[in-house]
Symmetry: C2
DNA sequence: TAGATCACTATACAAATTGCCCAGCGAAAT
DNA sequence: ATTTCGCTGGGCAATTTGTATAGTGATCTA
């Protein structure tokens, strides 16, 4: 018999079952709906419904292929803080977006600056990329630093684990 | 004597077909092998073989679920440059990894510093997270900046597009 | 308190997909 | 000349998906 006295409804965007499902998919993304239902010990329809709802709510945005840029030849990752001319963010971002090696751009507090993540094939190649960046109109100053290692790779797991462990508030 | 021209075998980690396949999966990650083969106009076995090889080579590491942290309640993203005590990187990273809101850590050039990406539910919550970070032993200084927007979200597409468009080299 | 809802279980069934295998073919490498 | 390798095209059984439907207990609402 399923049923405890769970009184959480639409308040929590992700409840425990959702978290367990997402965690499962995080570990083995290729699992089908059926397999998931078996592992979680719930009916297939439930898993299906949960997934649909997560997508609706915008929590789950898809299953994009994870590529290892290093294995693709882009062994270098660098971060750059970009200082730009006042009020030119849109143009600058457009210019940055046009550079394939620019993998991510954020506008941050501090001085209306931008924060950029980029990759390159080698130091020489990075030089080239950086040159491209500084050539973007309205870019005033660029402070680059190279990633030597990544002690904590991008992750969401701990956040899900917390939901899973903690009864919804 | 290495007759160049088109001797692309094991040199290019990702050839055009690979790129087209990955691009296709980037846009519609849930596609099955069969559907992919239809879209690309090649035999099913070919797609299967390509995928297997990409995984072998370590280029394709999987299809992890993409979660929107914002939709999950973590609407704030912040970056921090962490200055640490000499030779304590391992300990510090361990400490940082123990904080669920810390989503990513890189060791960068500059001063043997760390670069951290973290999320929070609100400004007050960010305060709490930051406090946790500074409480990690051997953390000397913390410079935090909040992400106001993300003009260029994490992407790999342009890199693949380039491979696709350009004949091998 | 009597419905009305909602989430989940449990089944069912046709259609599609997967996993695997095999023979043939052409280009490149030995 | 012979072998190797990648791709094609087909085949087949087993599994999974897409979609429905009915039943049940708990929560919400008038």
């Amino acid at each position: 018999m399923p049923s405890d006295q769970q009184s959480e409804h639409s308040d929590q965007p992700v409840d425990e079952l959702d978290a367990r499902l997402l965690l499962l998919l995080t570990d083995e993304p290729r699992l089908g709906v059926l397999e998931c239902s078996r592992r979680l010990g719930v009916a297939r329809g439930t898993v299906q419904a949960r997934l649909d709802r997560l997508v609706e709510r915008g929590v789950l945005t898809g299953f994009p292929p994870a590529l290892d840029l290093g294995a693709m030849g882009y062994g270098l990752t660098a971060f750059a803080v970009v200082e730009i001319a006042q009020g030119r963010r849109a143009e600058v971002c457009e210019g940055l977006a046009a550079i394939p090696e620019v993998c991510e751009v954020h506008a941050t507090t501090g001085q209306g600056d931008l924060f950029v993540r980029m990759v390159a094939r080698s130091n020489a190649d990075l030089q080239r990329v950086v040159d491209h960046v500084v050539d973007v109109p309205h870019v005033r100053r660029l402070s680059t630093s190279i990633a030597l290692s990544t002690p904590v790779p991008p992750r969401v797991r701990p956040l899900l684990e917390r939901v899973k462990g903690r009864p919804p508030r």
